[in-house]
Protein backbone atom coordinates (compact mmCIF):
# COMPACT_ATOMS: atom_id res chain seq x y z
CA UNK A 1 0.00 0.00 0.00
CA UNK A 2 2.86 2.32 0.92
CA UNK A 3 4.30 1.73 -2.54
CA UNK A 4 1.07 2.82 -4.15
CA UNK A 5 0.81 6.19 -2.46
CA UNK A 6 3.44 7.83 -4.63
CA UNK A 7 2.04 6.66 -7.99
CA UNK A 8 -1.46 7.55 -6.83
CA UNK A 9 -0.36 11.06 -5.93
CA UNK A 10 1.51 11.41 -9.20
CA UNK A 11 -1.48 10.08 -11.10
CA UNK A 12 -3.78 12.62 -9.50
CA UNK A 13 -1.44 15.47 -10.39
CA UNK A 14 -0.79 14.17 -13.88
CA UNK A 15 -4.55 13.94 -14.36
CA UNK A 16 -4.72 17.71 -14.20
CA UNK A 17 -2.23 17.94 -17.05
CA UNK A 18 -4.14 15.36 -19.08
CA UNK A 19 -7.29 17.35 -18.56
CA UNK A 20 -5.79 20.50 -20.00
CA UNK A 21 -4.41 18.49 -22.93
CA UNK A 22 -7.92 17.23 -23.66
CA UNK A 23 -10.05 20.24 -22.81
CA UNK A 24 -9.62 21.98 -26.16
CA UNK A 25 -10.53 18.94 -28.17
CA UNK A 26 -13.46 18.12 -25.90
CA UNK A 27 -14.73 21.67 -26.28
CA UNK A 28 -14.55 21.56 -30.05
CA UNK A 29 -16.25 18.21 -30.13
CA UNK A 30 -19.00 19.53 -27.90
CA UNK A 31 -19.57 22.54 -30.11
CA UNK A 32 -19.03 21.53 -33.71
CA UNK A 33 -18.97 17.74 -33.36
CA UNK A 34 -15.53 18.11 -34.88
CA UNK A 35 -12.88 15.62 -33.94
CA UNK A 36 -9.69 17.54 -34.40
CA UNK A 37 -7.14 14.90 -35.28
CA UNK A 38 -4.45 17.58 -35.34
CA UNK A 39 -5.06 18.59 -31.73
CA UNK A 40 -1.97 16.82 -30.43
CA UNK A 41 0.24 18.28 -33.13
CA UNK A 42 -1.09 21.79 -32.61
CA UNK A 43 -0.33 21.36 -28.92
CA UNK A 44 3.23 20.30 -29.73
CA UNK A 45 3.44 23.32 -32.02
CA UNK A 46 2.83 25.31 -28.85
CA UNK A 47 5.71 23.51 -27.15
CA UNK A 48 8.05 24.40 -30.01
CA UNK A 49 6.92 28.03 -30.10
CA UNK A 50 7.79 28.22 -26.44
CA UNK A 51 11.11 26.50 -27.11
CA UNK A 52 12.00 29.13 -29.69
CA UNK A 53 11.34 31.94 -27.25
CA UNK A 54 13.23 30.18 -24.48
CA UNK A 55 16.31 29.57 -26.58
CA UNK A 56 16.33 32.91 -28.44
CA UNK A 57 15.42 35.23 -25.65
CA UNK A 58 16.27 33.15 -22.64
CA UNK A 59 12.81 33.52 -21.16
CA UNK A 60 11.56 31.28 -18.44
CA UNK A 61 9.06 28.90 -20.11
CA UNK A 62 6.29 30.31 -17.92
CA UNK A 63 6.72 33.76 -19.42
CA UNK A 64 6.50 32.40 -22.94
CA UNK A 65 2.85 31.62 -22.25
CA UNK A 66 2.17 35.33 -22.67
CA UNK A 67 3.23 35.09 -26.30
CA UNK A 68 2.42 31.49 -27.19
CA UNK A 69 -1.19 31.60 -26.01
CA UNK A 70 -2.26 34.54 -28.20
CA UNK A 71 -0.31 33.25 -31.19
CA UNK A 72 -2.05 29.91 -30.89
CA UNK A 73 -5.40 31.67 -30.72
CA UNK A 74 -4.79 33.06 -34.19
CA UNK A 75 -3.54 29.72 -35.45
CA UNK A 76 -6.77 28.13 -34.27
CA UNK A 77 -8.90 30.94 -35.62
CA UNK A 78 -7.41 30.62 -39.09
CA UNK A 79 -7.35 26.84 -39.16
CA UNK A 80 -11.07 26.78 -38.42
CA UNK A 81 -12.01 29.81 -40.46
CA UNK A 82 -10.10 28.98 -43.61
CA UNK A 83 -9.83 25.19 -43.58
CA UNK A 84 -12.27 23.35 -41.39
CA UNK A 85 -15.33 25.60 -41.80
CA UNK A 86 -15.12 25.02 -45.53
CA UNK A 87 -15.56 21.27 -45.21
CA UNK A 88 -18.00 21.29 -42.32
CA UNK A 89 -21.20 19.64 -43.41
CA UNK A 90 -23.34 16.59 -43.12
CA UNK A 91 -20.56 14.12 -43.66
CA UNK A 92 -18.05 13.49 -40.95
CA UNK A 93 -15.08 12.39 -43.04
CA UNK A 94 -13.98 15.58 -44.86
CA UNK A 95 -13.16 17.65 -41.74
CA UNK A 96 -11.50 14.60 -40.23
CA UNK A 97 -9.31 14.10 -43.25
CA UNK A 98 -8.42 17.77 -43.47
CA UNK A 99 -7.40 17.72 -39.81
CA UNK A 100 -5.45 14.57 -40.49
CA UNK A 101 -3.64 16.26 -43.37
CA UNK A 102 -2.91 19.23 -41.15
CA UNK A 103 -1.43 16.88 -38.59
CA UNK A 104 0.99 15.47 -41.15
CA UNK A 105 1.97 18.91 -42.37
CA UNK A 106 2.66 20.10 -38.85
CA UNK A 107 4.68 17.05 -37.89
CA UNK A 108 6.89 17.25 -40.92
CA UNK A 109 7.24 21.00 -40.76
CA UNK A 110 8.44 20.72 -37.19
CA UNK A 111 10.73 17.89 -38.19
CA UNK A 112 12.18 20.01 -40.94
CA UNK A 113 12.84 22.96 -38.71
CA UNK A 114 13.75 21.33 -35.43
CA UNK A 115 15.18 17.92 -36.44
CA UNK A 116 13.86 14.76 -34.82
CA UNK A 117 15.82 15.31 -31.60
CA UNK A 118 13.98 15.19 -28.32
CA UNK A 119 13.59 18.61 -26.73
CA UNK A 120 12.37 19.90 -23.43
CA UNK A 121 11.67 23.21 -21.74
CA UNK A 122 13.97 23.05 -18.76
CA UNK A 123 13.07 24.91 -15.59
CA UNK A 124 14.58 24.73 -12.14
CA UNK A 125 11.30 23.19 -10.98
CA UNK A 126 11.92 20.02 -12.90
CA UNK A 127 13.60 18.03 -10.20
CA UNK A 128 12.31 19.73 -7.07
CA UNK A 129 10.21 17.68 -4.69
CA UNK A 130 8.65 18.41 -1.33
CA UNK A 131 8.69 15.53 1.17
CA UNK A 132 5.22 14.79 2.52
CA UNK A 133 6.25 12.29 5.17
CA UNK A 134 6.87 8.60 4.78
CA UNK A 135 8.43 7.83 1.46
CA UNK A 136 5.99 10.08 -0.38
CA UNK A 137 7.24 13.20 -2.13
CA UNK A 138 5.32 15.91 -3.90
CA UNK A 139 6.90 16.52 -7.31
CA UNK A 140 6.70 20.31 -7.60
CA UNK A 141 6.45 20.43 -11.38
CA UNK A 142 3.56 17.95 -11.45
CA UNK A 143 1.90 20.00 -8.76
CA UNK A 144 2.29 23.16 -10.83
CA UNK A 145 0.88 21.29 -13.85
CA UNK A 146 -2.09 20.25 -11.79
CA UNK A 147 -2.75 23.75 -10.49
CA UNK A 148 -2.46 25.35 -13.89
CA UNK A 149 -4.59 22.62 -15.39
CA UNK A 150 -7.34 23.27 -12.86
CA UNK A 151 -6.97 27.02 -13.38
CA UNK A 152 -7.37 26.68 -17.15
CA UNK A 153 -10.51 24.63 -16.73
CA UNK A 154 -11.89 27.13 -14.23
CA UNK A 155 -11.15 30.10 -16.46
CA UNK A 156 -12.65 28.34 -19.44
CA UNK A 157 -15.71 27.52 -17.39
CA UNK A 158 -16.11 31.15 -16.34
CA UNK A 159 -15.54 32.30 -19.90
CA UNK A 160 -18.29 30.07 -21.24
CA UNK A 161 -20.60 31.06 -18.45
CA UNK A 162 -20.20 34.80 -18.36
CA UNK A 163 -19.11 36.32 -21.65
CA UNK A 164 -21.09 37.11 -24.77
CA UNK A 165 -18.77 35.08 -26.97
CA UNK A 166 -18.70 32.18 -24.53
CA UNK A 167 -22.47 32.09 -24.28
CA UNK A 168 -22.80 32.46 -28.04
CA UNK A 169 -20.52 29.46 -28.51
CA UNK A 170 -22.70 27.40 -26.19
CA UNK A 171 -25.83 28.69 -27.87
CA UNK A 172 -24.51 27.73 -31.29
CA UNK A 173 -23.70 24.26 -30.09
CA UNK A 174 -27.17 23.90 -28.53
CA UNK A 175 -29.07 25.01 -31.61
CA UNK A 176 -27.25 26.39 -34.59
CA UNK A 177 -30.27 27.78 -36.38
CA UNK A 178 -31.58 29.29 -33.17
CA UNK A 179 -28.22 30.99 -32.72
CA UNK A 180 -28.21 32.34 -36.26
CA UNK A 181 -31.63 33.81 -35.69
CA UNK A 182 -30.22 35.77 -32.76
CA UNK A 183 -27.85 37.43 -35.18
CA UNK A 184 -24.91 35.22 -34.32
CA UNK A 185 -22.58 34.53 -37.23
CA UNK A 186 -22.03 30.89 -36.37
CA UNK A 187 -19.15 30.26 -38.75
CA UNK A 188 -17.30 33.07 -37.10
CA UNK A 189 -18.19 31.68 -33.70
CA UNK A 190 -16.68 28.32 -34.59
CA UNK A 191 -13.44 30.04 -35.52
CA UNK A 192 -13.42 31.82 -32.15
CA UNK A 193 -14.11 28.54 -30.42
CA UNK A 194 -11.20 26.87 -32.17
CA UNK A 195 -9.01 29.84 -31.30
CA UNK A 196 -9.90 29.40 -27.65
CA UNK A 197 -9.38 25.65 -27.84
CA UNK A 198 -5.93 26.36 -29.23
CA UNK A 199 -5.20 28.73 -26.35
CA UNK A 200 -5.75 25.83 -23.97
CA UNK A 201 -3.62 23.67 -26.25
CA UNK A 202 -0.87 26.28 -25.99
CA UNK A 203 -0.94 26.07 -22.22
CA UNK A 204 -0.93 22.28 -22.46
CA UNK A 205 1.96 22.42 -24.90
CA UNK A 206 4.12 24.54 -22.61
CA UNK A 207 3.33 22.38 -19.59
CA UNK A 208 4.01 19.16 -21.48
CA UNK A 209 7.25 20.69 -22.73
CA UNK A 210 8.35 21.45 -19.19
CA UNK A 211 7.27 18.09 -17.80
CA UNK A 212 8.33 15.65 -20.52
CA UNK A 213 10.56 15.63 -23.55
CA UNK A 214 8.91 16.19 -26.90
CA UNK A 215 9.80 15.77 -30.54
CA UNK A 216 7.92 16.45 -33.78
CA UNK A 217 6.11 13.12 -33.78
CA UNK A 218 4.82 13.24 -30.19
CA UNK A 219 1.52 14.83 -31.19
CA UNK A 220 -0.49 11.68 -31.94
CA UNK A 221 0.50 10.19 -28.60
CA UNK A 222 -1.13 13.11 -26.82
CA UNK A 223 -4.04 12.99 -29.22
CA UNK A 224 -4.78 9.49 -27.97
CA UNK A 225 -4.47 10.69 -24.37
CA UNK A 226 -6.89 13.49 -25.18
CA UNK A 227 -9.23 10.95 -26.69
CA UNK A 228 -8.94 8.77 -23.65
CA UNK A 229 -9.81 11.66 -21.36
CA UNK A 230 -12.67 12.72 -23.58
CA UNK A 231 -14.13 9.25 -23.81
CA UNK A 232 -13.70 8.31 -20.15
CA UNK A 233 -14.90 11.70 -18.97
CA UNK A 234 -17.86 11.90 -21.32
CA UNK A 235 -18.01 13.84 -24.53
CA UNK A 236 -17.95 17.59 -24.33
CA UNK A 237 -18.13 17.76 -20.54
CA UNK A 238 -15.67 20.02 -18.74
CA UNK A 239 -15.89 18.55 -15.28
CA UNK A 240 -15.78 15.10 -16.84
CA UNK A 241 -12.56 16.18 -18.50
CA UNK A 242 -10.78 16.59 -15.17
CA UNK A 243 -12.19 13.34 -13.80
CA UNK A 244 -11.34 11.54 -17.04
CA UNK A 245 -7.80 12.88 -16.93
CA UNK A 246 -7.31 11.69 -13.38
CA UNK A 247 -8.76 8.23 -14.07
CA UNK A 248 -6.56 7.75 -17.12
CA UNK A 249 -3.41 8.97 -15.37
CA UNK A 250 -4.10 6.88 -12.27
CA UNK A 251 -4.66 3.81 -14.44
CA UNK A 252 -1.36 4.41 -16.19
CA UNK A 253 0.75 5.03 -13.12
CA UNK A 254 -0.78 2.40 -10.85
CA UNK A 255 -0.64 -0.04 -13.75
CA UNK A 256 3.00 0.77 -14.32
CA UNK A 257 3.69 0.16 -10.63
CA UNK A 258 2.51 -3.45 -11.04
CA UNK A 259 3.50 -4.28 -14.59
CA UNK A 260 6.63 -2.23 -15.04
CA UNK A 261 7.20 1.21 -16.56
CA UNK A 262 7.26 -0.15 -20.12
CA UNK A 263 3.55 -0.93 -19.79
CA UNK A 264 2.40 2.46 -18.55
CA UNK A 265 0.88 3.57 -21.85
CA UNK A 266 -0.35 0.10 -22.66
CA UNK A 267 -2.41 -0.10 -19.50
CA UNK A 268 -3.85 3.33 -20.11
CA UNK A 269 -4.98 2.18 -23.56
CA UNK A 270 -6.45 -1.01 -22.18
CA UNK A 271 -8.55 0.97 -19.71
CA UNK A 272 -9.65 3.20 -22.55
CA UNK A 273 -10.57 0.23 -24.68
CA UNK A 274 -12.58 -1.33 -21.88
CA UNK A 275 -14.47 1.92 -21.36
CA UNK A 276 -15.10 2.17 -25.10
CA UNK A 277 -16.36 -1.39 -25.22
CA UNK A 278 -18.60 -1.15 -22.16
CA UNK A 279 -19.86 2.42 -22.44
CA UNK A 280 -19.09 3.91 -25.86
CA UNK A 281 -20.58 7.21 -24.66
CA UNK A 282 -18.11 7.46 -21.76
CA UNK A 283 -18.59 7.06 -18.03
CA UNK A 284 -20.08 10.50 -17.55
CA UNK A 285 -21.67 10.86 -20.96
CA UNK A 286 -25.44 11.00 -21.05
CA UNK A 287 -26.50 10.35 -24.63
Amino acid sequence: MEDLLQPMLNGLLLGGLYAVIAIGMTTMFGIVKLVNLAHGDLMILGSYLSLVLVSWLGFNPFWTLLAVVPVMFFVGFFVQGFLLNRVLGKEMEPPLLVAFGLSIILQNLLLLIFTPDARSLMTDLSIKTIPLGGSVNLPVLYFVDFLIGCAVILVLHLFFKNTYIGRAIRAASDDEIGARLMGINTKNIYAYAMGIAMMTAAVAGVLVGMTFTFYPHTGPQYLIIAFGVMIIGGLGSMKGCLVGGIILAEAQLIGAQFAGPGYQLLIGYLVLLIVLGVRPQGIFGKV
Binding site: V35, L97, V98, F100, I104, L112, L266
Partner: protein, 313 residues
Protein backbone atom coordinates in the same frame (compact mmCIF):
# COMPACT_ATOMS: atom_id res chain seq x y z
CA UNK B 1 -15.81 7.45 -75.03
CA UNK B 2 -17.44 4.36 -76.49
CA UNK B 3 -14.20 3.47 -78.14
CA UNK B 4 -12.30 3.30 -74.89
CA UNK B 5 -15.07 1.13 -73.49
CA UNK B 6 -14.99 -1.13 -76.50
CA UNK B 7 -11.29 -1.77 -76.22
CA UNK B 8 -11.30 -1.82 -72.43
CA UNK B 9 -10.45 -5.50 -72.13
CA UNK B 10 -7.76 -5.24 -74.78
CA UNK B 11 -6.13 -2.37 -72.98
CA UNK B 12 -6.39 -4.06 -69.61
CA UNK B 13 -4.91 -7.20 -71.12
CA UNK B 14 -2.05 -5.25 -72.60
CA UNK B 15 -1.34 -3.56 -69.29
CA UNK B 16 -1.43 -6.91 -67.53
CA UNK B 17 0.98 -8.50 -69.97
CA UNK B 18 3.30 -5.52 -69.69
CA UNK B 19 3.27 -5.65 -65.91
CA UNK B 20 3.70 -9.39 -65.69
CA UNK B 21 6.85 -9.29 -67.84
CA UNK B 22 8.55 -6.49 -65.93
CA UNK B 23 11.20 -8.82 -64.40
CA UNK B 24 12.22 -9.69 -67.98
CA UNK B 25 12.50 -6.22 -69.49
CA UNK B 26 12.45 -3.77 -66.63
CA UNK B 27 15.30 -2.18 -64.74
CA UNK B 28 15.54 -2.59 -60.98
CA UNK B 29 14.00 0.83 -60.58
CA UNK B 30 10.94 -0.10 -62.64
CA UNK B 31 10.69 -3.40 -60.82
CA UNK B 32 10.74 -1.79 -57.37
CA UNK B 33 8.39 0.89 -58.51
CA UNK B 34 5.79 -1.54 -59.80
CA UNK B 35 6.20 -3.80 -56.78
CA UNK B 36 5.53 -0.98 -54.33
CA UNK B 37 2.70 0.25 -56.51
CA UNK B 38 0.96 -3.15 -56.33
CA UNK B 39 1.33 -3.43 -52.58
CA UNK B 40 0.15 0.09 -51.81
CA UNK B 41 -2.71 -0.20 -54.30
CA UNK B 42 -3.78 -3.43 -52.64
CA UNK B 43 -3.80 -1.99 -49.12
CA UNK B 44 -5.45 1.21 -50.32
CA UNK B 45 -8.19 -0.81 -52.05
CA UNK B 46 -8.96 -2.34 -48.68
CA UNK B 47 -9.05 0.96 -46.81
CA UNK B 48 -11.31 2.26 -49.56
CA UNK B 49 -13.56 -0.77 -49.16
CA UNK B 50 -13.86 0.06 -45.46
CA UNK B 51 -14.24 3.82 -45.59
CA UNK B 52 -15.57 4.43 -49.06
CA UNK B 53 -18.09 1.62 -49.18
CA UNK B 54 -18.81 0.26 -45.70
CA UNK B 55 -18.61 3.50 -43.74
CA UNK B 56 -16.06 1.99 -41.35
CA UNK B 57 -13.57 4.75 -40.66
CA UNK B 58 -10.57 2.61 -39.76
CA UNK B 59 -7.52 4.43 -38.46
CA UNK B 60 -5.89 1.18 -37.42
CA UNK B 61 -4.92 -0.61 -40.62
CA UNK B 62 -1.38 -0.68 -39.25
CA UNK B 63 -2.58 -3.27 -36.75
CA UNK B 64 -2.99 -5.72 -39.62
CA UNK B 65 0.17 -4.59 -41.38
CA UNK B 66 2.22 -5.28 -38.27
CA UNK B 67 0.39 -8.40 -37.21
CA UNK B 68 0.53 -9.97 -40.65
CA UNK B 69 4.17 -8.99 -41.06
CA UNK B 70 5.24 -10.28 -37.67
CA UNK B 71 3.33 -13.54 -38.05
CA UNK B 72 5.13 -14.12 -41.32
CA UNK B 73 8.53 -13.24 -39.83
CA UNK B 74 8.07 -15.39 -36.72
CA UNK B 75 6.84 -18.42 -38.65
CA UNK B 76 9.62 -18.16 -41.20
CA UNK B 77 12.39 -17.49 -38.71
CA UNK B 78 11.45 -19.57 -35.69
CA UNK B 79 9.58 -22.48 -37.24
CA UNK B 80 11.11 -22.68 -40.69
CA UNK B 81 7.69 -22.50 -42.36
CA UNK B 82 7.83 -22.04 -46.13
CA UNK B 83 7.91 -18.30 -46.64
CA UNK B 84 4.84 -17.90 -48.87
CA UNK B 85 2.84 -20.21 -46.64
CA UNK B 86 3.71 -18.05 -43.65
CA UNK B 87 2.63 -14.98 -45.61
CA UNK B 88 -0.78 -16.59 -46.06
CA UNK B 89 -0.96 -17.63 -42.41
CA UNK B 90 -0.09 -14.03 -41.54
CA UNK B 91 -3.21 -12.98 -43.43
CA UNK B 92 -5.31 -15.53 -41.59
CA UNK B 93 -3.94 -14.39 -38.24
CA UNK B 94 -4.93 -10.87 -39.16
CA UNK B 95 -8.48 -12.11 -39.67
CA UNK B 96 -8.43 -13.63 -36.18
CA UNK B 97 -7.18 -10.32 -34.82
CA UNK B 98 -9.95 -8.51 -36.70
CA UNK B 99 -12.53 -10.89 -35.24
CA UNK B 100 -11.22 -10.22 -31.76
CA UNK B 101 -11.18 -6.46 -32.37
CA UNK B 102 -14.72 -6.53 -33.68
CA UNK B 103 -15.97 -7.76 -30.29
CA UNK B 104 -15.00 -4.36 -28.90
CA UNK B 105 -15.19 -1.86 -31.67
CA UNK B 106 -18.29 -2.83 -33.61
CA UNK B 107 -20.38 -1.14 -30.97
CA UNK B 108 -18.77 2.17 -31.87
CA UNK B 109 -19.71 4.47 -34.70
CA UNK B 110 -17.87 6.91 -36.92
CA UNK B 111 -14.79 8.45 -35.42
CA UNK B 112 -15.06 6.31 -32.29
CA UNK B 113 -14.66 3.25 -34.43
CA UNK B 114 -11.58 4.92 -35.85
CA UNK B 115 -10.13 5.64 -32.43
CA UNK B 116 -10.92 2.11 -31.30
CA UNK B 117 -8.97 0.61 -34.19
CA UNK B 118 -6.14 3.04 -33.64
CA UNK B 119 -5.92 2.27 -29.92
CA UNK B 120 -5.76 -1.43 -30.78
CA UNK B 121 -2.84 -0.78 -33.10
CA UNK B 122 -1.07 1.28 -30.42
CA UNK B 123 -1.56 -1.53 -27.91
CA UNK B 124 -0.01 -3.98 -30.37
CA UNK B 125 2.86 -1.58 -30.93
CA UNK B 126 3.55 -1.33 -27.22
CA UNK B 127 3.06 -5.03 -26.68
CA UNK B 128 5.46 -6.05 -29.44
CA UNK B 129 8.05 -3.50 -28.40
CA UNK B 130 7.95 -4.92 -24.85
CA UNK B 131 7.91 -8.55 -25.95
CA UNK B 132 11.09 -10.55 -25.67
CA UNK B 133 9.86 -13.25 -28.07
CA UNK B 134 10.00 -10.80 -30.98
CA UNK B 135 13.21 -9.15 -29.72
CA UNK B 136 11.49 -6.03 -28.29
CA UNK B 137 11.78 -2.89 -30.34
CA UNK B 138 14.94 -3.89 -32.16
CA UNK B 139 12.94 -5.92 -34.63
CA UNK B 140 13.47 -9.06 -36.66
CA UNK B 141 15.27 -9.83 -39.88
CA UNK B 142 13.21 -12.09 -42.10
CA UNK B 143 15.45 -15.06 -42.88
CA UNK B 144 13.76 -17.76 -44.97
CA UNK B 145 15.76 -20.98 -45.45
CA UNK B 146 15.86 -20.27 -49.16
CA UNK B 147 15.37 -16.56 -49.79
CA UNK B 148 13.00 -15.95 -52.70
CA UNK B 149 14.40 -14.18 -55.74
CA UNK B 150 13.39 -10.62 -56.49
CA UNK B 151 11.26 -11.67 -59.44
CA UNK B 152 9.41 -14.18 -57.26
CA UNK B 153 8.65 -11.40 -54.80
CA UNK B 154 7.59 -9.27 -57.71
CA UNK B 155 5.08 -11.86 -58.83
CA UNK B 156 3.77 -12.24 -55.30
CA UNK B 157 3.18 -8.49 -55.23
CA UNK B 158 1.56 -8.64 -58.66
CA UNK B 159 -0.76 -11.38 -57.44
CA UNK B 160 -1.69 -9.27 -54.41
CA UNK B 161 -2.32 -6.18 -56.51
CA UNK B 162 -4.34 -7.86 -59.22
CA UNK B 163 -5.94 -10.32 -56.81
CA UNK B 164 -7.18 -7.51 -54.59
CA UNK B 165 -8.57 -5.64 -57.53
CA UNK B 166 -10.47 -8.72 -58.69
CA UNK B 167 -11.67 -9.40 -55.13
CA UNK B 168 -13.02 -5.89 -54.74
CA UNK B 169 -14.63 -6.09 -58.14
CA UNK B 170 -16.29 -9.41 -57.33
CA UNK B 171 -17.48 -8.14 -53.94
CA UNK B 172 -18.98 -5.04 -55.48
CA UNK B 173 -20.76 -7.07 -58.14
CA UNK B 174 -22.15 -9.46 -55.53
CA UNK B 175 -25.22 -9.18 -53.38
CA UNK B 176 -23.14 -7.79 -50.54
CA UNK B 177 -21.64 -5.17 -52.85
CA UNK B 178 -25.08 -4.05 -53.94
CA UNK B 179 -25.96 -3.62 -50.29
CA UNK B 180 -22.71 -1.77 -49.60
CA UNK B 181 -23.37 0.75 -52.31
CA UNK B 182 -26.85 1.31 -50.96
CA UNK B 183 -25.43 1.70 -47.44
CA UNK B 184 -22.94 4.23 -48.70
CA UNK B 185 -25.75 6.37 -50.08
CA UNK B 186 -28.16 6.06 -47.16
CA UNK B 187 -27.57 3.61 -44.36
CA UNK B 188 -30.97 3.98 -42.72
CA UNK B 189 -32.94 3.50 -45.89
CA UNK B 190 -30.84 0.55 -46.98
CA UNK B 191 -31.45 -1.13 -43.65
CA UNK B 192 -35.18 -0.56 -44.01
CA UNK B 193 -34.92 -2.22 -47.42
CA UNK B 194 -33.54 -5.42 -46.05
CA UNK B 195 -29.78 -4.87 -46.21
CA UNK B 196 -27.98 -6.58 -43.32
CA UNK B 197 -25.78 -3.72 -42.21
CA UNK B 198 -23.86 -5.43 -39.42
CA UNK B 199 -23.10 -8.57 -41.37
CA UNK B 200 -21.92 -6.66 -44.46
CA UNK B 201 -19.66 -4.44 -42.42
CA UNK B 202 -18.12 -7.30 -40.51
CA UNK B 203 -17.52 -9.14 -43.77
CA UNK B 204 -15.67 -6.16 -45.21
CA UNK B 205 -13.66 -5.68 -42.05
CA UNK B 206 -12.50 -9.30 -42.14
CA UNK B 207 -11.70 -9.26 -45.86
CA UNK B 208 -9.73 -6.05 -45.36
CA UNK B 209 -7.79 -7.63 -42.50
CA UNK B 210 -7.03 -10.73 -44.57
CA UNK B 211 -5.74 -8.86 -47.58
CA UNK B 212 -3.92 -6.14 -45.65
CA UNK B 213 -2.18 -8.75 -43.47
CA UNK B 214 -1.18 -10.85 -46.47
CA UNK B 215 0.03 -7.86 -48.45
CA UNK B 216 2.09 -6.75 -45.48
CA UNK B 217 3.68 -10.21 -45.41
CA UNK B 218 4.79 -9.83 -49.02
CA UNK B 219 6.04 -6.34 -48.25
CA UNK B 220 8.19 -7.55 -45.36
CA UNK B 221 9.56 -10.43 -47.39
CA UNK B 222 10.72 -7.69 -49.74
CA UNK B 223 11.97 -5.35 -47.04
CA UNK B 224 13.63 -8.16 -45.04
CA UNK B 225 13.42 -6.23 -41.77
CA UNK B 226 10.43 -5.65 -39.48
CA UNK B 227 10.28 -3.45 -36.42
CA UNK B 228 7.28 -2.56 -34.21
CA UNK B 229 7.70 1.22 -34.39
CA UNK B 230 7.49 1.06 -38.17
CA UNK B 231 5.13 -1.86 -38.67
CA UNK B 232 2.47 -0.66 -36.25
CA UNK B 233 2.92 3.04 -37.01
CA UNK B 234 -0.04 5.28 -37.78
CA UNK B 235 1.93 6.34 -40.86
CA UNK B 236 0.46 3.37 -42.71
CA UNK B 237 -3.03 4.70 -42.31
CA UNK B 238 -1.85 8.18 -43.21
CA UNK B 239 -0.43 6.92 -46.49
CA UNK B 240 -3.60 4.99 -47.24
CA UNK B 241 -5.71 8.06 -46.51
CA UNK B 242 -3.63 10.09 -48.94
CA UNK B 243 -3.80 7.52 -51.66
CA UNK B 244 -7.54 7.08 -51.41
CA UNK B 245 -8.37 10.76 -50.92
CA UNK B 246 -6.21 11.85 -53.83
CA UNK B 247 -7.40 9.06 -56.08
CA UNK B 248 -11.05 9.32 -55.19
CA UNK B 249 -12.84 7.77 -52.25
CA UNK B 250 -15.53 5.25 -53.07
CA UNK B 251 -14.30 4.36 -56.55
CA UNK B 252 -12.46 1.23 -57.66
CA UNK B 253 -10.03 3.19 -59.81
CA UNK B 254 -9.25 5.80 -57.16
CA UNK B 255 -6.87 3.73 -55.04
CA UNK B 256 -5.01 2.62 -58.17
CA UNK B 257 -4.51 6.14 -59.46
CA UNK B 258 -3.73 7.37 -55.94
CA UNK B 259 -1.20 4.60 -55.31
CA UNK B 260 0.53 5.37 -58.58
CA UNK B 261 0.77 9.05 -57.73
CA UNK B 262 1.90 8.32 -54.20
CA UNK B 263 4.66 5.92 -55.17
CA UNK B 264 5.78 8.27 -57.93
CA UNK B 265 5.85 11.28 -55.61
CA UNK B 266 7.52 9.45 -52.78
CA UNK B 267 10.24 8.22 -55.16
CA UNK B 268 10.78 11.69 -56.58
CA UNK B 269 10.70 13.33 -53.22
CA UNK B 270 12.63 10.60 -51.42
CA UNK B 271 15.83 12.62 -51.42
CA UNK B 272 14.08 15.50 -49.71
CA UNK B 273 13.13 13.30 -46.76
CA UNK B 274 10.33 14.73 -44.75
CA UNK B 275 9.47 17.41 -47.24
CA UNK B 276 7.82 14.65 -49.25
CA UNK B 277 5.25 13.92 -46.52
CA UNK B 278 4.78 17.64 -46.06
CA UNK B 279 4.00 18.08 -49.73
CA UNK B 280 1.70 15.09 -49.72
CA UNK B 281 -0.15 16.63 -46.78
CA UNK B 282 -0.60 19.88 -48.63
CA UNK B 283 -1.76 18.08 -51.77
CA UNK B 284 -4.28 16.06 -49.78
CA UNK B 285 -5.75 19.12 -48.06
CA UNK B 286 -5.91 21.03 -51.31
CA UNK B 287 -7.73 18.17 -52.97
CA UNK B 288 -10.18 17.91 -50.06
CA UNK B 289 -10.97 21.60 -50.43
CA UNK B 290 -11.02 21.85 -54.20
CA UNK B 291 -12.20 18.44 -55.36
CA UNK B 292 -13.41 16.48 -52.34
CA UNK B 293 -14.17 13.50 -54.54
CA UNK B 294 -10.56 13.07 -55.61
CA UNK B 295 -9.22 12.64 -59.11
CA UNK B 296 -11.27 9.66 -60.21
CA UNK B 297 -14.37 10.73 -58.33
CA UNK B 298 -14.36 14.11 -60.04
CA UNK B 299 -13.54 12.59 -63.41
CA UNK B 300 -16.32 10.04 -63.13
CA UNK B 301 -18.83 12.66 -62.17
CA UNK B 302 -17.95 14.73 -65.21
CA UNK B 303 -17.52 12.01 -67.82
CA UNK B 304 -18.97 8.81 -66.37
CA UNK B 305 -15.66 7.15 -67.13
CA UNK B 306 -14.94 3.83 -65.42
CA UNK B 307 -12.40 1.14 -66.09
CA UNK B 308 -14.07 -1.59 -64.14
CA UNK B 309 -17.81 -0.99 -64.10
CA UNK B 310 -19.50 -2.04 -60.89
CA UNK B 311 -22.77 -0.75 -62.32
CA UNK B 312 -25.60 -3.05 -63.15
CA UNK B 313 -27.67 -2.34 -66.20
Amino acid sequence: MNKTLKYRWHILGLIFVTLSTVPIWGSDYVLFFCLLFFLYASMAQMWNLLVGYSGLLSLGQQAFVGFGGYTMAVLTNYYGVYVWLSVLIGGLFSVLLALFMSLFIFRMKGIFFGIGTWVFAEILLLWFSNWKYVKYGTGLFVKPATPPSMSTIYYAALIMGVGTLITVFVILRSKIGLGLMAMRDDEEVSEAMGVEIFRSKLFCFLVAALITGTTAGVLYVFQIFIQPYKAFAIDWTIVLVFIVVIGGIGTIEGPIVGAFIYVLLSQWLAEYGHVSLLILGIIAITIMLVAPKGIMGTLQEKTGFTILPSRRT
